[in-house]
């Protein structure tokens, strides 16, 4: 999948003559646009496009060209696409990347080529630690931060024993470790399932029932999350053992899950009802355009645009000044849709995490902020990051 968007501004530049052609900012956008998690990539793209429109389709005054590439949720495909963007398209920036395993695979060509990159979802612990790089920033989080927050909430709710389940890939492992880091009770079972191939969780749900925990924690992003919640309901566990989640129920899965999602808490660093001006503009315009709420995937991706805008502005469009661009990005001098926003020394955000739940407003199911679980949370891997100055 490949779509090149040459924009009107680029056309203007063309008409002005090739010799004096105005430079365009070329962005390679890597996400998943096919398969059971395609809805995530779609939401990210819509938010990115909306953010570009909000900026007049210019970054730091320069017209923008975006090349979208589909990683098919496969690390080996992701690496190839990133290599192509760097070598063939010679992009100035790489943006996106949902999956931790895709990111880990793609980091070597990104770091080797010093391509300025904004990761808008994947939160592999390696990126926050030993594989951190001066030119790689994240507008998301480290994988274990969100489950750490839900672990704290489980303590608040008096959960004594828990059964943990997630997919067997880089992020799944990080997620379960995150809960274990803050949850004070006893872990009575841990399951990692084949990712993304396994769609039937009945054997694991039977196992969870047999372990008789106070609570189950699950991490299943995208389509598999819908499957998991549905099967959890069908197995009759809903009335017996409460479920706590991270990245499993969001505004993408909600229209499909409907009332199945009610009463299942999750944690998130952004919710669509966060009270700040940038967020209101983002959510309102997104709803006007697409008739649904954006998801946190979209919000994180939306934030990449003002961030890059501040970076391009800082160097007056001279994108060869990578060190100055890096300093500019580190200031995080832009209005984030999640309000307060700053980068840690490893270029991972330091931010709040909220408790969220699905609620019914009229005929529509929407996500709602219930409480703030932790404020200004910093990931615990930053000391492993040896960032060159």
């Amino acid at each position: 999948m490949r779509k090149t968007l040459m924009l009107t501004a680029a056309l203007l530049a063309f008409s002005a003559g090739a010799a004096s052609a105005q430079k365009t900012v070329k962005i390679g956008f890597v996400s998943t646009f096919s398969g059971p998690t395609a809805a995530i990539g779609d939401d990210m793209r819509k938010s990115f496009e909306l953010a570009l429109d909000h900026h007049g389709r210019k970054l730091g005054g320069l017209p923008v060209e975006v090349i979208y590439e589909d990683d098919q949720i496969k690390p080996e495909v992701g690496v190839q696409k990133v290599q192509k963007l760097i070598e063939s398209d010679k992009v100035d920036f790489i943006v996106g990347i949902i999956w931790s395993n895709v990111l880990i695979a793609a980091l070597k060509p990104i770091i080797d080529s010093k391509t300025f990159t904004v990761v808008t979802n994947a939160g592999a612990s390696q990126l926050s630690g030993e594989m951190c790089s001066p030119y790689v920033f994240s507008t998301a989080w480290n994988n274990d931060q969100t489950p750490q927050a839900i672990g704290l909430y489980m303590n608040q709710k008096g959960v004594k024993t828990a059964f943990l389940i997630g997919p067997n890939y880089a992020a799944g492992k990080d997620m379960l470790e995150g809960v274990e880091a803050t949850f004070k009770g006893q872990i009575v079972g841990r399951e990692l399932t084949a990712w993304p191939a396994q769609v039937d969780f009945q054997a694991e749900l039977s196992k969870a029932r047999n372990a008789k925990p106070d609570a189950i924690f699950a991490f299943y992003p995208g389509g598999p999350g819908i499957q998991f919640i549905t099967q959890y309901n069908q197995s009759g566990l809903k009335g017996q053992i409460p479920l706590y989640t991270a990245f499993t129920i969001d505004s993408l899965s909600l229209p499909r899950l409907k009332d199945q999602a009610l009463g299942i808490p999750g944690a998130q660093e952004w919710v669509r009802d966060l009270p700040n001006e940038a967020n209101k503009k983002y959510v309102d315009d997104f709803r006007a355009r697409h008739k649904t709420d954006p998801s946190f995937y979209g919000a994180q991706t939306y934030d990449a645009v003002p961030l890059l805008d501040s970076v391009v502005k800082a160097v007056n469009g001279d994108l060869s000044k990578k060190d100055e661009m890096r300093r500019a990005a580190e200031k995080a001098d832009f209005k984030s849709v999640r309000g307060n926003f700053k980068f840690g020394p490893n270029h991972i955000p330091i931010q709040n995490f909220y408790l969220q739940e699905a609620v019914k407003e009229g005929d529509e199911f929407r996500m709602k902020t219930m409480a703030t679980i932790v404020e200004n949370d910093q990931d615990k891997h930053f000391q492993k990051c040896k960032m060159p100055n």
Partner: protein
């Protein structure tokens, strides 16, 4: 003990799905001598048809029934257009030609239904769990799958063993020319058998859909498992397919349920989590390899062969 029963039920239920897929595959393989890698695509098509039709009719049962009919027809059309020229070719041609169909259908479905996939919602009375034994709760819909498949298996048995068309099917499997010589329209028979196989595969897809997700490529993993089933059971043998399907289903489930904990006794936690599911999958393929080495005709070869 109750837990073991519950996991065996899970394995049984997976076995039922495998049987639905394998039954058509083994009939087509046994009678037309055709390796059909596109069988998984029919499984996928069935699920997409049903998801659409449940939405249109507003009724789960009507959607499934119409979906089965639609897959039956789609199967016959596919046979006439693309499969028929492959009969009599060598197996490599089958693998390649139907591999081409498989990737074609993946993109065709993406073109028609979009890349994101669909869901089928169950009627609310099936969203609960039933107490099957004291202390053993089981999802109602999974019980429906087991019962419906047992009924289908029985119907198939009656069809193949007790009816005239079944007699022709059996005869066709053992001696093609003979059946042709009897004045039977062998082309029509093949088309009908392929349609039947398609309908069974489609039904399997529909049964899986409410538990999981209707998505592109959903048939690829389970297709290879279905091939394992028909090899173990013996090509062309419905009875063999049934027994092998249940065996593979139970090995897979029991493997997933118990092997990871077992492995963790020897390895670290994280190594066990990775190795456990991998081991139970390896077990299935090893079983198939062993059958192929020692009893290539399968454990329950079709009678008359």
């Amino acid at each position: 003990m109750l837990y073991l029963i519950e996991q065996c039920l899970n394995g049984m239920q997976l076995g039922m799905l495998l049987f639905l897929l394998a039954a058509g595959l083994t009939l087509i393989f046994g009678i037309m001598d055709l390796i059909n890698l596109a069988h998984g695509s029919l499984y996928m098509l069935g699920a997409y048809f049903a998801a659409t039709l449940v939405g249109v009719t507003g009724s789960f049962v009507a959607g499934i029934a119409l979906g089965v009919v639609a897959t039956f027809i789609a199967g016959m059309v596919l046979e006439v257009i693309a499969i028929r020229p492959l009969y009599g070719r060598d197996h490599l041609d089958h693998v390649l030609g139907t591999f081409g169909l498989l990737i074609f259908f993946n993109d065709l479905v993406r073109l028609i239904w979009g890349p994101a996939g669909l869901t089928i919602s169950l009627p609310s009375q099936m969203l609960t769990a039933v107490q099957v034994l004291p202390g053993v709760y089981y999802p109602a819909f999974r019980l429906v799958i087991i019962i419906a498949t047992l009924a289908v298996a029985l119907l198939l048995y009656v069809l193949v063993m007790r009816t005239r068309i079944g007699m022709l099917i059996r005869a066709g499997a053992s001696d093609r020319e003979m059946v042709g010589a009897l004045g039977v329209n062998i082309k029509l028979l093949y088309t009908l058998v392929f349609g039947l196989g398609a309908a069974l595969a489609g039904f399997a897809g529909m049964m899986q859909a409410p538990l999981a997700f209707v998505q592109i490529g959903m048939g690829e993993n389970i297709l290879i498992l279905a091939f394992v089933v028909i090899i173990i059971g013996g090509i062309g043998s419905i009875r063999g397919a049934f027994i092998a399907a249940v065996t593979v289903g139970i090995i897979d489930t029991i493997g997933r349920a118990f092997v990871p904990d077992l492995v963790r006794h020897f390895l670290s936690y994280s190594a066990g989590s990775s190795a456990g599911p991998a081991l139970s999958s390896m077990l299935i393929y090893t079983l198939m390899a062993l059958v192929l080495i020692f009893r290539p005709e399968g454990l329950f070869p079709a009678s008359g062969k």
